[in-house]
Amino acid sequence: MISFWEVARRAETGPMMKESDFDMRISMTAMELAKEYEIKYDPSVYVSSDNTMADDVWRAGIELLLKCGVYNVSNKRVITFEEHEVKEALKHVVSEFEIGKGKDRIKIQARGVEDSKKSTIFSGPFGVETSLDVFVPLNQAFIQEPLVDVLFHGGHIQSICGVNTIRANSAFEVIAARVYAELMNQALILGGRPFMPIVWGVAAGVSSLNELGADSFMPKNPEDIFRAVMFLPELKLDDVLLSKTAHFMNYGYPLYAGTTPVIGGYAGDANTAAIVAVAEQIATFLVFGAVVNHIGPQHMRYRSQTNPASLWMNSVMGQAVARNSKLITTTSVTTAGRPGSMQMHLEAAAMAICSVVSGRNLLGPRPAQPLYPNHHNPLHARLFAEVAHAAIKLKREDANEIVAQLVATYKDTLDFDKSPKGKTFEQSYDVRTLKPTEENLSLYKEAKSKLIDLGLELA
């Protein structure tokens, strides 16, 4: 299979073009391919059952990747791939991967459409500003959720030592990243899962500097920690990303790679975005040799991932990849409803069901627009995981019906100014005992019984 060193070499020597021309090349090629393969978005469908369309989207995705390549925005060069390289690489896909130690060692697998294998659950307080006083309890509460298999990003330290907002590339990023490593260790030990696998992400600030700032104090062995590398949508990367990848490879970390194709952006409508997403899914594997390949079905207008177009796109591209490859994949779930709201439970359930029957593993859920520091709630992860495990019994048609009913409950309140504001971790949990409040627990139970009424077999 093509090596990362070879990809990095092509990033130095590939043909040059303007970034805006590359963006438009992606758009135009995806539109041509959608026409050629007659791939149309049907807004009345949330979970597709169309195998032919899935296979066509797969072929179109490969064609798009071969025609367009991957763009390095740092030096304006295109990394191109040959058809035989893609075919050959797909034969070397890792379809099963073990990670973690002792009782927390897990096996992550490639999943098929309507597969009875359980989906691996990645979850954590990622993307949300986390204050130092709550950092350990919040992460510990996630770690103590037995259905969370892999902890994903421990939250974001934004203020430290009297600095209210850590600026990118400032010294405080590195200081905070070092503190993050310390606190993550504590949370894992206190949570009783010291060797739980993790995806180690942005700790503080936003530059890549901080990610490397804590390397020598990260818990355990590199082989138990995924490092995250994300394309820029659509099909773009930069020198920093390539450098980080080289560093992670040099130190033996497995990679969790992904991207967030944006429906309505250069990826176009849901049909063309599905094609682009397939190309990206293959490209993250080709470029990074990633073990886990992730897609966040983002939407330009909603800025969250549970809207009808994102659901459809996720189901179609997911089935395309699951039917035609052995890639281990995840879908991320960002919701418009915020933590501690019924809407967040139901949105997360809709995307979990859609993804599981479409052959994917799961990451999330998290609020697309957190409003406060510590705006997270591990009970959402619990129900999300339970729903995911119940969904392995569903056929796609049944999944579509359940998802349709779920979407009906929240489709009119997807805009951020209408979606529920929710509650912080401190308002939803006793931060000392790490028990959810009565109110939080009864919301969880109420959501669960709604889902049971819709036909899910939840215990």
Binding site: M24, T165, V206, Q369
Partner: protein, 219 residues
């Protein structure tokens, strides 16, 4: 063959609506040949078409690629008609100059690109500085272009503080009053804009055009 004014205006409109840059260029040249007032050609041919495109975009009937192509077609038409405008008309057509960029530390570009595209389509001249733009680069570009508006995008709660830095920098070097300052991006809202002392805020690209016009006293 002779073409009537109505036919040419229709061609301009249809060219934009059909994303056909060549058709717009041809119609614009034809307008000049037939002695049609270039101001009218822009105002009644191109502008209504791009407004319609903007509405379609807002309704999610079309997406960023179509918007970009239509805006490019419109610009190509304006580029042909503009030299023929007399001075007072020229001032009315070019609404103003905007320097736009995403703040330092932040590489999110999609929202900023859409705002830039919509501003261009509306008739602003836009200088796009890209992403990760330091405060002094905003000012340098604004000085060089003699801009009217500086527009700063920030997509993360941890980078929106750079919008405040931008205000502080402009004040420190005595340039704050020379430009109108507009801010936007996911974590930004009216309240934040007021707090840091920006002149305008808009939650999306369509409203950004409206706000930019208001800032320059255009209706």
């Amino acid at each position: 063959m002779h073409m009537s004014k109505e036919e040419i205006l229709k061609e301009l409109r249809e060219g934009v609506l059909n994303y056909d840059e060549e058709r717009v260029k041809k119609a614009a040249m034809r307008a000049l040949e037939e002695g049609i007032d270039p101001f009218l050609a822009i105002k009644e041919g191109l502008t209504p078409a791009i407004n319609e495109i903007g509405k379609k975009f807002e309704r999610m009937e079309i997406f960023l690629p179509q918007l970009t192509i239509a805006a490019k077609a419109m610009e190509a038409g304006v580029a042909i008609l503009e030299p023929a405008l007399d001075k007072s008309q020229g001032e009315k057509v070019k609404l103003g100059k905007v320097v736009i960029g995403t703040v330092q530390g932040d590489i999110h570009s999609i929202g900023k690109n859409i705002v830039a595209t919509m501003l261009r389509a509306a008739g602003f001249e836009v200088i796009d500085l890209g992403v990760d733009v330091a405060v002094d680069k905003f000012l340098e570009a604004a000085e060089r272009a003699k801009a009217d508006i500086i527009a700063a995008s920030a997509l993360m709660s941890f980078t929106k503080v750079m919008q405040r830095d931008l205000v502080e920098y402009l004040k420190s070097v005595g340039a704050r009053d020379k430009y109108k300052l507009m801010v936007g991006g996911g974590p930004v809202n009216e309240e934040w804009a007021r707090e840091i002392g920006a002149d305008g805020y808009a939650e999306d690209a369509i409203k950004a055009v409206k706000v930019a016009k208001e800032l320059l006293g255009l209706k």
